[in-house]
């Protein structure tokens, strides 16, 4: 089996390199048969990497400890589901999994465009195959996944206990999908630059890929936050860890791109900017991979560190050089046909939105690499912590929230006084009223007041958009109000799906702000039968229990939770001691409601049965996760328009043209 895995990997390197050469030659020499041959090589690479992955999964499940990777990341006592997810538990496996996703998506993109965009496709193939060849060459030459041990152990070291968690089964695949999917729009952008097809063809073609990449990157970040919340046991979900930042930065530039392409589609403006954003987003995905795997910055994600940093940096430099070289080559053709007419316009709102997104991305990048830069320049590593990120990014994020309300209701090109009065007076008044009510209820944090105020503003504008849209549609098509609302959702899914996403983002803003500012945290040491109080909850320590099997030992506490004298639930926070590797871990227990989360961590229980608990009450954090669910629904609406509704709309417009 190992021979087959190795052979498939070596062949994958050959086929991906061939795909690069054949596709570029085909595009330059206009040789259609080489275009097809290059694409076939890309499909073959996918098949070969699939074989390699199957061989690796087989080795993991069957505990083939003759393979170094299997011995390092599994054991006979590890449940099978975690043996499978050990594929992304270490460096070699995670890069193999990454390559599998990349080649799968490349094959999908090629198949989807087998009869379309033929002029661009050789470059898309060449770009994706170049990235594939880079990753496969790392696997072949530097970190062979099937490296053998001279003396196979009887038992493996086992998977890091932090990774033996449900969220770790879905967080890395979602994040990798998000990272890797940006390769396809980047490939189309390179195709557009190389061929000179700089109209919005490449944008329209890659739109759904961008949405998919953005969606999975958002989901990956959210799953990671949830993992940190449940597993790390410090009461929070985001610590501005370098690797968290690495996944956050392409999400920011990618979101900026998704907004600014609308300006190019409508106004034929911002072509250079859009190219820059897509290149930066892709480059940041490579940079993120570099940060996770280089070990240059200490992180909670230390389980995938290695000495691959210089190779990633070289590849990143190559990507930036080629991409921006092509932009410079086409700079004349990328010049806009139109200029910005007024600062009070939707175009300006989009532009400010973009500047804020890129500003947050830059601040995050600066804070992330500052320890390394300071060490290079002054010889002293100066760490930048959460206060820096919160202080710099907080105000920018609040401004973004406000723009989320302004953007949809301000007029294109130039807002008139009438437009401003009609659209802004009521939501502004509502925002002010909600902010004042918050202050009256005891809120004293300016950030919190601004966030609730702007959230009310945004939610009102979105509701007003649905209302005015339904009225306009009803008048245009003589439909009832309810039919018009449904019609809006079905026939303009991109716009209204986007609004649903905005609603999800508002919920997330509320969850993050309130749970960060108004969190209560207390440490209590109690004997059995004693109780303690945090916020409005009373927790009574009832009992503790020891459990042990071949995989781990567990110490489980039982706490009855009371609110207003009435028992509402029982919590069981745990302390675990994994046997291979010998490592303690915390299993948080919590009671989650729309109002707040009661979050309890078991610190220790001594020989006399005295237990120490770290308890937190995190207000409104439920809305962060619920916002994620709304975001999923919104993306599904925006990404998959109803074919029947679209055809009907086309037929209606065609009749007005030919009249």
């Amino acid at each position: 089996m190992i021979t087959i895995g190795n052979l498939a990997l070596y062949l994958a390197l050959a086929t991906s390199l061939y795909a690069v050469v054949a596709s570029i030659y085909a595009a330059q020499a206009h040789r259609g048969e080489f275009v097809t041959s290059g694409e076939r090589a890309a499909y073959a690479t996918w098949g070969l990497i699939s074989i390699t992955t199957i061989v690796m999964l087989h080795a993991l499940v069957t505990n083939d400890f003759s393979i170094k990777y299997v011995a390092a990341y599994t054991s006979t006592t590890l449940p099978v589901r975690f043996r499978l997810t050990a594929l992304w538990g270490g460096m070699e496996g995670s890069l193999l999994f990454w390559t599998l996703i990349l080649t799968t998506l490349t094959s999908l993109a090629l198949f989807q465009n087998r009869c379309r965009n033929r002029e661009l496709m050789p470059y898309v193939t060449a770009t994706a195959a170049t990235v594939t060849a880079f990753f496969v060459s790392l696997l072949v030459f530097l970190i062979p996944p099937f490296a053998l041990l001279k003396f196979p152990p009887a038992e493996g070291t086992d998977l890091n206990p932090l990774l033996q968690n449900y969220w770790m089964q879905i967080h890395p695949p979602a994040l990798y999908l998000g990272y890797v999917s940006w390769t396809i729009p980047f490939g189309f952008a390179i195709g557009a630059l190389a061929t000179g097809r700089l109209d919005d063809l490449w944008i329209r073609t890659s739109r759904r890929w961008c949405l998919m990449a953005w969606f999975f990157l958002s989901l990956g970040n959210l799953f990671g936050a949830r993992w940190a919340y449940e597993v790390l046991g410090w009461g929070g979900y985001w610590a501005w860890d370098p690797v968290e930042n690495a996944a956050f930065m392409p999400l920011l530039t990618g979101t900026a791109y998704l907004h600014s392409v609308m300006i190019q589609e409508r106004k034929d403006m911002l072509k250079v900017w859009n190219m820059t954003l897509i290149i930066l987003t892709f480059a940041l995905t490579i940079f993120g991979t570099f940060l996770t795997r280089s070990g240059v910055i200490s992180s909670v994600h230390s389980f995938t560190q290695s000495g691959l940093g210089p190779y990633f940096l070289t590849f990143l430099a190559f990507v930036l050089l080629i991409s921006f070289g092509l932009v410079a080559f086409r700079i004349r053709e990328l010049r806009p046909r139109h200029q910005l007419d007024s600062l009070l316009s939707r175009e300006s709102a989009f532009l400010f939105n973009n500047l804020l997104f890129v500003g947050i991305a830059f601040a995050t990048l600066w804070g992330t690499i500052f320890p390394v830069l300071s060490e290079w320049v002054r010889g002293v590593k100066i760490t930048v912590g959460p206060p820096f990120f919160n202080r710099v990014n907080g105000p920018l994020a609040v401004a973004l929230l406000l723009l989320m309300g302004i953007g949809p209701i301000i007029a294109w090109r130039r807002a008139t006084f009438r437009n401003l009065v009609d659209n802004f007076v009521v939501p502004t008044a509502l925002g002010l009223a909600v902010g004042t009510a918050g202050f009256a209820c005891g809120m004293r944090s300016l950030s919190a007041i601004l966030v609730v105020s702007f959230s009310a503003f945004v939610l009102y504008t979105i509701a007003a958009e649905f209302h005015s849209g339904a009225r306009a549609r009803g008048a245009m098509l003589q439909e009832s109000y309810m039919s018009a609302i449904l019609g809006l959702m079905r026939k303009n899914q991109r716009r209204y799906g986007g609004y649903v996403i905005h609603v999800g983002v508002v919920f997330m803003f509320l969850g993050v702000t309130m749970s960060s500012i108004y969190r209560t945290e207390e440490l209590h040491t109690v004997k059995k039968g004693e109780q303690f109080t945090i916020d409005r909850y009373t927790l009574k320590y009832m009992d503790s229990e020891n459990k042990e099997d071949s995989h781990m030992a567990q110490l489980i506490a039982t706490l009855d939770v009371y609110e207003n004298g009435k028992q509402i639930t029982t919590l069981h926070p745990e302390k675990r001691f994994y046997k291979r590797p010998e490592q303690p871990a915390t299993e948080v227990d919590m009671r989650s409601t729309m109002r707040d989360d009661l979050y309890v961590v078991l610190g220790s229980i001594d020989d006399q049965g005295v237990a120490t608990f770290q308890a937190y009450v995190n207000p409104l954090v439920w809305w962060l996760w619920f916002g994620g669910v709304v975001l999923v629904i919104g993306t599904a609406i925006a990404a998959f328009p109803s074919k029947a509704a679209t055809l009907h709309e086309r037929a209606r417009v065609t009749s007005t043209i030919r009249r």
Binding site: M1, T3, I4, L7, A8, L11, T15, Y18, A26, A27, A29, H30, R31, G32, E33, F34, V35, T36, S37, R40, A41, Y43, A44, G47, L48, I51, R114, C115, R116, R118, E119, R204, E265, R266, R346, I409, I410, A411, W412, R413, R414, N423, E465, S468, G469, A472, R473, A475, M476, K491, N492, R495, T646, E649, R650, R652, V653, T654, T656, I657
Partner: protein
């Protein structure tokens, strides 16, 4: 057994990649569906939906009449061009054409660039 499997794997990969370069494959390629039709269908769909959006934006007060007129005329032009191209393609036989404009592929209708010996879209040889 494993050696045989490896040999088959190498041969299969080589065959899959080399097949399009053989004369047999270029005959097969000519039987693929026409690409240009899809391209113009897509262009037409995009232009029509952009017009629908502009109609809607004007009706909700997001687009002034002047801007609407500019946008509408731009997208109408694109839609009409796409419709014209589709009508033209409809009048041409698709495969093995007797009537193909000079400089266009007889199979899929894509325009040849000067040095092309094969169609960059479908791989058919230039007649």
């Amino acid at each position: 057994m494993i050696g045989a499997f490896c040999a088959v794997l190498v041969a299969a990969v080589a065959a899959v990649i080399a097949m399009p370069l053989s004369p047999i494959a270029s005959v097969q390629a000519r039987d693929e569906p026409a690409a240009n039709d899809e391209l113009w269908q897509h262009e037409k769909a995009v232009a029509l939906l952009a017009i629908a959006e502009a109609d809607f934006d004007r009706a909700t007060g997001k687009l002034s009449n002047d801007d609407y007129a500019i946008l509408r005329s731009d997208y109408e032009g694109r839609a009409l061009r796409a419709i014209g191209e589709l009508d033209r393609l409809d009048t041409l036989p698709v495969v093995g054409l007797a009537v193909v404009p000079a400089g266009f592929c007889g199979h899929c209708g894509v325009r040849f660039k000067d040095p092309d010996r094969y169609c960059s879209s479908c791989g058919s040889a230039r007649g």
